[in-house]
Each structure stands twice: as C-alpha cells, then as structure tokens.
Symmetry: D2
C-alpha cells in the first residue's frame, strides 16, 4: 500500500529589503517568518484561516523549529514556500517546508515546525476535527 501523498500548499512573494542583512543575503531569522507565512497560506488554501482558529479560542503554539539553510536568497528574489503536514496527532501536528527560489527552482531552506494545540486556559487540548483531516490530500 502506498501512503496517500500529503496536500502541499504553495505561496510566493518577493524578498523585502528589511529581511536582508549586512552579509547581503536574507537573514536566517527571516526564513522562520516565511515558514509561518507558509502555514498561514496552508490554512487559507484549505478554506479556513488561522485567525478563525484563534477566534474559536484555540492557539497553535510553536513547540519546536528546525531549519537547514542550503543556499542564500537575495533582495527582490521571488521565493516559493511549499508547506505540508508531516505528522498529524490528536493534540498537535508537524509541518514540513521547502523554500525555493522561484526563478531557478533551487532549494534554499528545508524545515520542520512542531505545534501543540492549547485552549484559552493554556491547557493542551484536541485539535478541532476540521484541522485533523488536513493531513490527507
């Protein structure tokens, strides 16, 4: 049996000047924000929004970030963030990512982020069912 391939959300944008640093390249912390934008787009492309999720009284806390930097990006580069669910649990999930230079298809960054669902009182809680089905394409 082959596994069902994950749904992959892709979003593209230009590198902003503020996101570069004195080395002349995109600062490594800026990519962490790009990953987040990848997740936001994932939710939007699934027909919902992380903003709605929070309005429903739940928060998806970032428990872990792991990123590998393969090649630099530069100001004004068009980047594509590919984002998919690598692991779906009952109370948390793991997203995986690739950040690609759109013009050359070079892989710049690969990353994972692990998240835990908590409620208004800070208690770890079950992910809503609508999110739990996201792992499937």
């Amino acid at each position: 049996m082959t596994p069902t391939p994950a749904y992959i959300a892709e979003t593209s944008f230009h590198v902003r000047y503020a996101e570069t640093d004195a080395m002349g390249v995109v600062h490594h912390a800026s990519y962490i924000v790009y990953l987040e934008e990848g997740r936001s787009h994932y939710a939007r492309s699934r027909g919902t929004s992380y903003a709605e999720f929070e309005r429903g009284g739940l928060i998806l806390v970032v428990a872990e970030v792991q990123a590998r930097y393969h090649r630099p990006a530069y100001y004004d580069d068009r980047l594509t963030v590919r984002c998919w669910i690598e692991h779906m649990g009952t109370r948390g999930l793991t997203f995986a990512y690739e950040i690609i230079r759109a013009a050359t298809d070079e892989k710049l960054v690969t990353a994972h982020t692990r998240h835990i669902c908590i409620d208004r009182n800070g208690q770890v809680t079950r992910l809503p069912e609508a999110w739990r089905t996201w792992g499937h394409s």
Copy 2:
C-alpha cells in the same frame, strides 16, 4: 493647466503573524517595512528593480520617514500599499503612500519617505535619468 496625475503603484499582501504585537494589531514598525515593499513594487511595476539600481553602483538612502496611523490592521488582513512619487528632485525624491485594508477600503496609514541618491563612495549624486522620468504617469 492641471498637473499630470502621478503614476500610482499598488501591491497587496496578507499581514503576517510576526508583524503583529501584544496589542493584537500590526506593530507600527511593520508598516515602515510595508512602505518599503510599496517602493520595491513601484520600481518593479515601472519595469526595473531597485536591486538593479544598486548593482549599478547607486544607493537610495532613506533620509526621512513620516507616518500617520489612522486605524489598526490585524493578522491575516489583506492590505494594499499605494505608492507614488510626490516630489522628484535631481539628487533625491519623495514617495507618498496609503496603506488600505483591501476588504473595506479603509485608510489605515498615510506616509511619506524622503530619499537621497548616493554613489559607492557615499557622495550625493544625480538620480539616473530612467528614474527621473518616473514622476510622470
């Protein structure tokens, strides 16, 4: 004689979570980065790129920023930055901006930024002719 209306460049994007602050709204410094993105888009939409400008050995230094904050923006809001040239000089220029919530057309921020053209040696110098014609629509 009526003045020639300025060319206006518009670009839109979603507010990123990292751009918000503990008040629950977009942090005021994030808009300064949005203005820059408006300028970058202005250059792109004029058929060039600020990256090329810098590769040509010139830098457009920010000499002054002035921004008025009228209404807050929130995570995931779709914003539109409208950017045009308010004043074109021989060695510098002033951009004007409006940042608008796309869904409601509300004006959130109005701003101006003043720039001076310098060369590799840090000397104030003439703007290239290609840029000097930008003020016209």
Copy 3:
C-alpha cells in the same frame, strides 16, 4: 521664567546583526524599534513600566512617527537612545528622541512619536495622573 528642562532617559545596547540590511548598515525600520525601546526605558527609569500601564487597562497607541536619518549605524555599534517628553496633553503625549553612536557621540537619528491614550473599549481617554507628571524633570 525659564521652562523646566525635561527629564531625559538614556539607554544603550549593541546593534544586532538581524537589524542590519544588505546596504551593510542598520535598516531604517530598526530605528523605529529602538525608539520604542527608548520609551520602554523611559517608563522603567520613572519607576513604572509600560507593561503595568497596559495591565491597568490603558493602551498608548502610536498615532504618528517622524524620523530623520543623519548617519548610518553598523552591526555591533553601541547605540544610546535619549528619550524625553516633548509635549504632554491630557489624552496623549509626544516623545522626542536622539539616537547616538556611543563611541563617537555622533547623532544618527532624531525623531518624534505622538501617542494617544485609549481604554479597553478603544475610547480616547485621560492619561493617568502618574504619567501626566512625567514631563517634569
């Protein structure tokens, strides 16, 4: 009658690499964050904290920012932010600032920010009396 000179709060810190950009200097939006740090320090040095202010149900909204950039700062530079109250109103106030390179005493940025006091319901309201006396040294 000579006016009472304003109380001036000074705080110093090193430029972080993330705050620089591809021009090799501190990005102009980073200084807007330094101004905020200057205000935070102002409150601390007056024996309170803006965090307490917010816990009291009030928010000091940024209504306007105006900054002039005189000279660049570089990674690892030690900067000093001098912050004082330029105008104190009943429902708002204006801070003024100088950002200085500590090693050379050069003035890098001068700025003003205007703020309005609002309550939990978003209504403009009176500044607490404890803050209103801050203008005096």
Copy 4:
C-alpha cells in the same frame, strides 16, 4: 578524564514590544535573533567581535537552527541568553543556548545553531586559530 567544561557567555536584555505577537507573547522568530545576540556577546566576552571577524574576510554562515520552546516570555521581561560552544570543528562550529527568564530562572528556550566558515569567494575554509581555541574555558 572529565571533559573541560565549556566557557559560557551570558547576556541580558528586556523584551521589546515589537518582539511580541498577537498571542501576547514573544514571537518564536524573535528568539532566533536573541540567539544571535548571544553569539555576538560570546565573541565580545572573548575579547573580539564578530564584526572584526568579517572585516578579516571571513563569514560564519548559519547552516542549521534548532530551537525548542518550553515557556512563553512577555513584553518587558528581562531575559538572559546563555551561550557556549558545543562542538568545535576545523571549518565550522556548533553553539548551544539556553534562554532564561531572569526573574524566575525558568528555562524558556533551548537551542543549537550550526555554522560554517566561508571566505570572500564563498569557499568553505578553516576557522581562524583564535576562534578554534574558544571551545575551552
């Protein structure tokens, strides 16, 4: 034989408002910048500066970041970044970190960053000897 304990550099600062997000806590990407500040301070406390390192024609590229988020930090919290060298190679090194709330000594974030030394031509090269001795306390 017991291993020589690593030299640990500690630096402290207040959380800036701009570093928080709409959850009311420090945004997870802000800690990545704090780690960098920890490294900068490490170099300073060893009697040199990463700025000098770069002036010498070398760059310490970030190859990997891994961070675990244990507890949130809030605006105006005083944080301490503890930074030490976990592994020293000939052409790269790994820093380890703890970020602690100074008032309560709670561990908020633990992290590692892996770096590679490159020269002006982008070639991987040997770390200078002065840096290679840093692993020892």
